[in-house]
């Protein structure tokens, strides 16, 4: 007998009918002989409704009150599922963050889990109960309700699986696994049976939306095997796990894209110490995340500095950067908010040469100009004009023969 943590996202619990569908899946797992801990998100749309209420109440709502407000969404779904499970004849019990407890730090709206007390869950599991835990929420030391930010319920599930030493953490969503690329963009996309934590992490960071990077980091840290599955089908899904020899055969496992990119170039920056700090400190102070940063080689002690930010931040970022540019005596600032980041990811890259060259050649053949490049051990990202997104994804998918299973 094993212990399975199952997490169902907002679309899987969007209404009572879908929650009943979840109940049947949970019961099937329980009947197969496993203990089950279920983690739920709020009904699709509910968190947005609550955020909207908060923003009507105050333009910049108090974060402590904000978290206590939006955490009600998960409170509704977990109690409804527990009621259904009981009606269907099973012992079931819902737990909120403060009841378990799931202890977090005090960073409202983006809290990090510090410790999970698993005693109550273990006691109830011993009595044969199915446990239903509210995702996305915890409490700080003073019993203030906190929420974990985007992808919070995935993080709750993986953290619970780690704390309970579960055999597997299953993430149920509206897609049936991790694909070599977005099937909406290229119909040759193939579902991967397995992917390593590092690849999944890079994919998530590079724009794949199936799992939040935080939950993948946590899974990697505690070596929790994570299954990504669809709650609407019985397909096998994708296992996110430690690297193994099979994986290394795949030079590239996926192509991702991220259209939420805007490029900012500061032209003719004097090349002296402290300049980068002067440019990026104001952005950090305004919580604007900078993704790629590139600095050209210096000519006559002048250089160009280019970086990317999220499109929603570009307006505020350009004001801050223009201000800084004036200070440091740069010539001017050029904004381009119609770019996209295309990435190829694969653990096999480490031991195969020529992957980058193949990527650049493939894009060049199609006349796609590469505006920025950044690389990690298992990822190569190129910024290109946004209009080339689909084309770039398809030609790279073909070039690396991702539609074919290697073995």
């Amino acid at each position: 007998m094993g212990l399975v943590v199952q997490k169902y996202g907002g679309t899987s619990v969007a209404d009572l009918e879908r929650i009943e569908n979840v109940a049947r899946r949970v019961i099937k797992e329980k009947e197969s002989g496993n203990d089950v801990v279920v983690v739920l998100s709020a009904m699709a749309g509910e968190t947005d409704r609550l955020i909207n209420l908060a923003q009507q109440a105050a333009a910049d709502p108090d974060p402590r009150e904000y978290d206590a407000l939006i955490s009600t969404g998960e409170q509704v779904t977990v109690t409804l599922l527990a009621m259904m499970l009981k009606r269907l004849g099973y012992r079931a019990r819902s737990f909120l963050g403060h009841q378990i407890k799931i202890n977090t730090d005090r960073a409202f709206k983006k809290a990090r889990i510090v410790k999970i007390d698993t005693r109550k869950i273990r006691e109830e599991l011993k009595k044969g109960a199915i446990i239903v835990v509210a995702g996305f929420q915890g409490v700080d030391e003073e019993n203030n309700i906190t929420t974990l930010g985007r992808g919070g319920s995935d993080t709750s599930a993986v953290a619970l699986a780690a704390a309970l030493k579960a055999d597997v953490c299953e993430i149920y969503t509206d897609v049936d696994g991790v694909y070599t690329t977005d099937p909406n963009i290229y119909d040759k996309a193939r579902r991967l049976d397995k992917i390593s934590y590092d690849e999944m992490l890079e994919m998530a960071r590079a724009g794949a939306k199936v799992l939040h990077p935080r939950s993948v980091e946590l899974a990697k840290k505690f070596e929790v095997p994570v299954y990504v599955k669809s709650s609407f089908s019985d397909a096998n899904g994708t296992l996110v796990t430690k690297e193994d020899k099979d994986m290394e055969k795949e030079v590239v496992s996926g192509v991702t894209y991220d259209r939420d990119q805007a490029k900012i170039t500061v032209v003719n920056v004097p090349d002296r110490p402290g300049i980068a700090a002067r440019l990026f400190t104001p952005l950090a102070e305004h919580n604007i995340m900078v993704d790629m940063i590139i600095q050209n080689a210096s000519v006559d002690s002048l250089t160009d500095l280019t970086f990317t930010v999220s499109r929603k931040d570009v307006k505020q970022a350009s004001i801050l950067v223009q201000d800084a540019a004036k200070d440091i005596g740069a010539a001017n600032v050029v904004i381009d908010d119609s770019v996209a980041k295309i990435s190829i990811i694969g653990v096999g890259m480490v031991s195969h040469s020529g992957v980058a060259a193949k990527m650049f050649t493939t894009l060049a053949k199609e006349g796609i100009n590469i505006e920025m490049i950044s690389t990690s051990e298992i990822k190569i990202s190129c910024v290109v004009k946004a209009k080339y997104t689909e084309l770039a994804v398809m030609v790279l998918h073909d070039a690396f023969e991702l539609e074919k299973q290697k073995s």
Copy 2:
């Protein structure tokens, strides 16, 4: 500087605009120099929406899950009000039942408050904060969320006022006080400036909906002065307080009616010990509340036994009673679900004779037949045909000259 507990009901926090209206009232109180603790209900209609969800999830929802579900309604309003108060420049902090804590027994759906820990509230009051507490909810010893049942937020407010030794507990609702009778039935109804706990209790039990009997009992026990006021006007309201000499001048302070009544008569009951127990035990076991009970004098060792129940219970009650009647050899059971209870209430009755006679004469003059009578020290209730409700209220209001202020 005093301490005021203010409670706002569902219609007073029905939407963001009304919550903002509440914020302004709270601030006015704070600016006048008092510490303020606010207790809120859920938005009007929200608790019903949640109950409906629960009933779709399970015909007979698990009570522990049910309470955790419906308690979210108050969680939404208190966080929204706290956000608004902060936006308007005031220190404010919301507290849920488990955060304070408000300890209750384990009777889900109708829990009773056992103890309120006031430390956190006092700490925050010292820092100048306005405290916003979720009404209707508490936690049992194991940190399970409980709710207090109908009128629960009134009870929360009075209990907090008692625990904090507040100077006054103000109950804001959609009417501006306690009236001599329902103004919707008789336009001569007069708002009372003051009423005693006992009168208010009898009025609430006899059908007046302005305060729940439980909250009045609690107010009486801890001598909490309660002000019933409208959140939509600045009218004075009604003070519910200890009996004083002024009150005794009013022989009758109010006329109430309760149309939620059904009369059950068991005919020719053998008059021997144990019969009443056999009749009423099954009703108690099914949580059916019996209001008035009358047993005629025995003739030939046979008697008629008549009692009233809530109309919603009459169907189930008649089945249980018919069953019992057969057992004990009664002739038959007669049901009448078109009756109403008309009551007159007043502490002055104790020292004035002829009040009952005046009531009976007044009704007789209008040809209204009295089917049942019950009395307490400060109340006389008559059951009459439901169609006479309005007429009975009006003629009694006139007979006791309730439109006139006595002094």
